[in-house]
């Protein structure tokens, strides 16, 4: 065969063809730009989002570590630090509790000493903001802003003097209270929401607490590889040769959790890739299909199939060369500039450099994918153009559809016309459905993920109350602070919906072995066991009055608190029986299951009751098996708490002691009401507040960051689906030019045509949503199951998902009519001619 030099002419024809279709080229290049941009942005945002969430988790834990060794010995510290798999290990010892500042009682304000490694490498990365330096001198102290706020210091100054009352955690020291004038050398904010502070080594040494003291000292170990197995933990435990109650606390399930999370992210990326592929494929397919008649003409003039394919591929390549760099550039600008700016607009104190992480590989992968998609997507149309006979190509009419056999039907309503149109081009219908289903599913997943990281949602899951006010005298003098007048005053505030009191008292259970025996036995088997079970039980049997096993908490609650409590029990407690004083709930800690308590009757008497010696009986009908909920704040050590109704408490005790007030506002997060409630307690230092608003304030920054990133990610995928739909409908409407001409010529008005198109759109929307719903549900549940870091109950984000469905429906309904309006301004004859061309 003679080699013919025709490359030049094929190239020329390709360029002429390309230049002749400016409008279509623009759309194809736009598709490339958008897809490249979206893939790059989505990967970058995904990485950034993951980073943000991780950072928040780290901050909520307050320290960066993977495994914790309790009560470490010196040699163990050395041993751990020498281990190959250990990155670094810092020492932390809880040594004192601050009790009071200028007459203000403080709640569980713990002071820690941490070594240099721990502070520099593990504490600092977990802090949101830090000023000053770690304490060096004995009187220097560094406190969390949370604690400073609790102390009433809103504007802390480095060097300010802080006279504090505290007691040390030295073993067997008792409750000796010390006072000391500290100097504030630093302060910080974190997400733990805990009252904490750090002290110098010199001060730590004065407390007498040792790192080996039970539950006080810990070696926080950061591993080189975050993913470790239970087997590796066992090996480490063996190497460390534990003393007495030492344990290694870790989360070997993390590897599984990580893989799950990676799976979800990979799944989302596949969906995003699928959306991008559908978009490019679709644009290219429509573009090439429209040109097939022209290729038929070229073939009649003697162009070979190979040459025709080359022309098609050249066009795709030009689209890629123009579209991909532009998409990458756009993504670069948006990820580097736009999103951090948006984040800093929402929260001015946010460090924008932390906004989005993009590594160069993302650009490379996205560019490669877009190019591959572009070339793969033209494969089928190029084959059609190259393979079909010239006559067929000349007759080819894109998207025309073939009318098959139909069942005999009389009449044709606009609706049936629309329904026929929806499925006339099955490929088009499938692509529209696929693209919408993908978009909706990704959005459902994002909505679930955002909900799970929503500060308010998390807080709602933790507490149903807006404000909890605790009487801090409970463990000492038990002063009745919350008077009836005070409660009435709070209730009378217009923004307050309800106020409930939680009463506490000591209950003596003289013969409790049959009821609580199993629980105590299991409890003594844990690391926190108070002593020897057999010995203690023997003492209890002989002298129940003197044994701590005979003590139980007696807690009484009102109606709303009962409803909340009833959510956490192993079997639902009958409300009537509870409020009539026949049924009780038991909460306990550290053991699993109900320890055989459900259904048993407990006999007790109340030393503070009207008749201190009189014995009462009550049946335990529900047990909080997970120990996740206790309406009271101060628990009596490891003893179980018997929770009864407030009616019963009032009947048995003259003036039951109110430990806590729980307030619910008419409108959650109502700052004005909160201010009014707090004003009622002005000057009262013996109470502490746990406010949902304050907790939310602390979570807001990372929540808004998560929201912006999450919605951008979802929004981009949504945009892809919408563009795909717009593209499909535009092609469909354009292809039906002649048909609309015919319809108009026989008397169909523009309004009626638009109605048909709108019905088609609504049909696409409804079917897409119905198809996507089961997948959306399953996927959002999977997201919940695998990323539920705060152990909240499952909730389908109905609000945002309904908004999404409404958006899909609106787009589906509006687009076809708008496209028709935009495209058909010409006369009927021109439309008919266009169709014949």
């Amino acid at each position: 065969m003679i080699q013919v030099k025709n490359n030049q002419v094929v190239r020329e024809v390709a360029l002429i063809t390309y230049r002749g279709n400016r409008k279509r080229n623009f759309l194809s290049v736009f598709a490339m730009v958008l897809t490249t941009f979206m893939i790059t942005t989505v990967i970058a945002l995904g990485v950034s989002y993951w980073d943000t969430i991780q950072k928040r988790q780290l901050r909520m834990e307050g320290m960066d570590y993977d495994v914790e060794l309790t009560e470490p010995r010196e040699n163990q510290v050395e041993l751990v630090r020498d281990m190959e798999e250990v990155k670094y290990a810092g020492l932390s010892v809880k040594c004192a509790i601050v009790e009071e500042y200028q007459g203000k009682m403080l709640d569980k304000a713990r002071l820690y000493w941490v070594d240099d490694i721990c502070f520099e490498k593990q504490v600092m990365p977990a802090l949101e903001h830090c000023e000053g330096k770690y304490p060096e001198k004995e009187d220097e102290i560094m406190l969390s802003l949370h604690l400073l706020k609790a102390m009433g210091i809103e504007q802390p100054q480095i060097g300010m003097s802080l006279p504090l009352s505290y007691y040390t955690l030295k073993a067997n020291e008792g409750d000796t209270e010390y006072t000391k004038e500290f100097t504030l050398c630093g302060f910080y904010s974190d997400y733990t929401g805990k009252n904490r502070g750090y002290v110098s080594k010199a001060f730590f040494e004065t407390t007498g607490v040792k790192q080996t003291d039970f539950t006080q000292g810990a070696l926080k170990i950061k591993l080189k590889d975050k993913l470790y197995t239970a087997k590796e933990m066992d090996e480490m435990s063996r190497a460390l040769k534990f003393h007495s109650k030492q344990i290694l606390i870790g989360n070997p399930e993390f590897i599984e959790e990580f893989l799950r999370m990676a799976g979800i992210l990979a799944g989302m990326l596949v969906m995003i890739f699928a959306s991008g592929y559908l978009f490019i494929y679709n644009t290219m397919y429509i573009s090439i299909s429209k040109d097939i008649r022209y290729y038929g003409q070229l073939k009649t003039m003697g162009m070979t199939s190979r040459q025709l394919k080359k022309i098609v591929y050249t066009q795709a390549f030009i689209h890629s060369v123009l579209g991909i760099p532009a998409g990458l550039l756009l993504a670069g600008i948006v990820t580097k500039q736009g999103i951090p700016k948006a984040l800093s607009l929402i929260n001015p104190v946010l460090d924008v450099s932390n906004g989005v992480t993009v590594w160069p590989g993302v650009f490379f992968i996205a560019g490669l994918f877009a190019l591959a998609t572009s070339l793969i997507s033209v494969g089928t149309p190029a084959k059609i153009a190259g393979d079909c006979s010239p006559v067929e190509a000349m007759r080819h009419f894109a998207g025309g559809g073939k009318a098959g056999k139909r069942r005999p039907r009389e009449g044709a309503s606009l609706y049936s016309m629309a329904f026929s149109n929806m499925f006339r081009d099955k490929k088009q219908a499938v692509i529209i459905f696929l693209s919408f289903v993908t978009g909706i599913c990704v959005f459902c997943m994002m909505n679930e993920y955002i909900l799970l990281n929503d500060g308010k949602f998390i807080l709602e899951g933790i507490s149903a109350w807006d404000m909890e006010i605790v009487n801090q005298t409970t463990l000492e003098e038990e002063r009745q602070i919350f008077t009836e007048d005070m409660v009435s005053e709070i209730s009378a505030l217009p923004g307050v919906k309800s106020v409930e009191k939680v009463y506490t008292a000591l209950a003596k259970v003289p013969k409790g072995e049959g009821v609580f025996g199993e629980y105590f036995k299991e409890l003594y088997g844990t690391r926190y066991a108070p002593g020897n079970y057999e010995e203690d039980m023997e003492t209890y049997r002989e002298n129940p009055e003197r044994s701590l096993l005979g003590d139980a908490g007696f807690v009484a609650v009102g109606e709303e608190e009962f409803l909340e409590l009833n959510k956490h029990v192993n079997q639902k407690v009958d409300e009537e029986a509870f409020f009539q004083g026949r049924a009780a709930v038991v909460t306990k800690i550290l053991t699993e299951g109900d320890d055989g308590m459900t259904g048993k009757t407990v006999d007790f008497y109340l030393p503070q009751g009207k008749n201190p010696k009189e014995a009462y009986s009550i049946t335990i009908t529900g047990v909080d098996t997970e120990g996740s909920y206790n309406p009271a704040y101060f628990t009596r050590g490891e003893a179980p708490s018997i929770i009864v109704s407030e009616n019963l408490a009032k009947k048995l005790i003259q003036e039951p002691y109110v430990e806590k007030l729980k307030v619910k506002y008419e409108k959650s997060y109502d700052k004005e009401t909160e201010k009014e409630v707090k004003e009622i307690f002005q000057g009262e230092n013996r109470v502490s507040f746990d406010s949902k608003i304050e907790n939310y304030e602390e979570m807001r920054e990372s929540e808004s960051q998560a929201k912006v990133l999450g919605y951008t990610l979802g929004g981009i995928v949504g945009l892809l689906s919408i563009c795909n739909y717009l593209n499909m409908m535009a092609a469909s409407v354009l292809n039906r030019s002649k048909e609309f001409g015919i319809l108009e010529s026989i008397g169909m008005t523009t309004g009626q045509i638009k109605k048909v198109l709108r019905t088609e759109g609504v049909g696409y929307g409804v079917i897409s949503i119905l198809l996507a719903l089961p997948f959306g549900f399953i996927l959002s549940y999977l997201v919940f199951q695998n990323t539920n870091m705060y152990r909240t109950a499952y909730a389908f984000p109905w609000g945002s998902n309904l908004l999404l469905f409404a958006g899909v429906m609106a787009v589906c309904a509006i687009v076809p009519g708008a496209v028709y309006k935009k495209m058909y301004k010409s006369s009927v004859v021109e439309q008919l001619r266009k169709g014949d061309a």
Binding site: G400, A412, M748
Partner: protein, 225 residues
């Protein structure tokens, strides 16, 4: 009495360098019940004239008066509704809707007006045009002649006063073309309709009561009845 009238009708196409005068001052009057043929060579302006008379295209100047109403002044949708009720079209390439069967195609203009089709009347047309057996067939299952008969049935179904036929036999063989023309004439007479037919076939034109010839956008013969 004139049912359709054009007054100084012009249609110019501006291509940038030259202006093409597709119609150049056409005055034409068609009487009620008349069967009129418009003949002319390719590009003479006969199709443009028909489109203007049916309101499918807008004139550059002049007026088109149908049943006493100036349709060139009507808004788009007003014109569409007027056309639906008063004018039936028959095109050379049939222009049937591919997704609808024969019956659905025929009754569509009536249903678009929100009216329940007069079954007896439609059945009468269907049987007159020999489409009884093909009532539920799809357009792609029909021959060219059958498709043109469906187009004719659709034009007649809404009982329009005027039928405008644009080369109705252009795609048909001579025998089928004769059949279709015969049907057009007889149904037109039977249902009392005015027919304007475009053709370049002299033999077909002879079926009409009057013939006008158009050249270079102007009427050369038979302009006034």
């Amino acid at each position: 009495m004139s049912i359709l009238k054009t007054e100084n009708l012009t249609k110019y196409y501006d291509t940038g360098e030259v202006t093409i005068k597709a119609l150049d001052g056409v005055d034409l009057s068609v009487e009620k019940g008349e069967f009129l043929s418009v003949v002319g060579t390719s590009g003479s302006g006969k199709s443009t004239l028909l489109h203007m008379m049916g309101g499918l295209d807008n004139p550059t100047s002049g007026r088109v008066i149908v049943e006493g109403r100036d349709i060139s002044q009507m808004k788009k949708d007003e014109l569409t509704i007027f056309r639906r009720r008063n004018i039936g079209f028959v095109f050379q390439n049939y222009n049937l809707l591919p997704l609808m069967n024969v019956y659905q195609n025929i009754v569509l203009p009536i249903r678009l007006d929100g009216i329940v089709p007069d079954k007896r009347y439609v059945e009468n047309i269907i049987s007159t045009l020999g489409l009884k057996e093909k009532k539920y067939a799809m357009p792609n299952q029909l021959s060219g002649g059958q498709q043109q008969r469906v187009a004719l049935a659709r034009a007649l179904a809404a009982k329009p006063a005027i039928i405008l036929a644009d080369e109705p036999t252009g795609n048909l063989d001579s025998r089928t073309g004769q059949d279709v023309l015969g049907l057009l004439k007889t149904t037109g007479e039977r249902f009392g309709q005015t027919i304007v037919m475009i053709t370049h076939n002299d033999e077909a034109a002879q079926m009409a009561g009057r013939i006008i010839r158009i050249e270079d956008g102007k009427i050369r013969e038979g302009g006034r009845s």
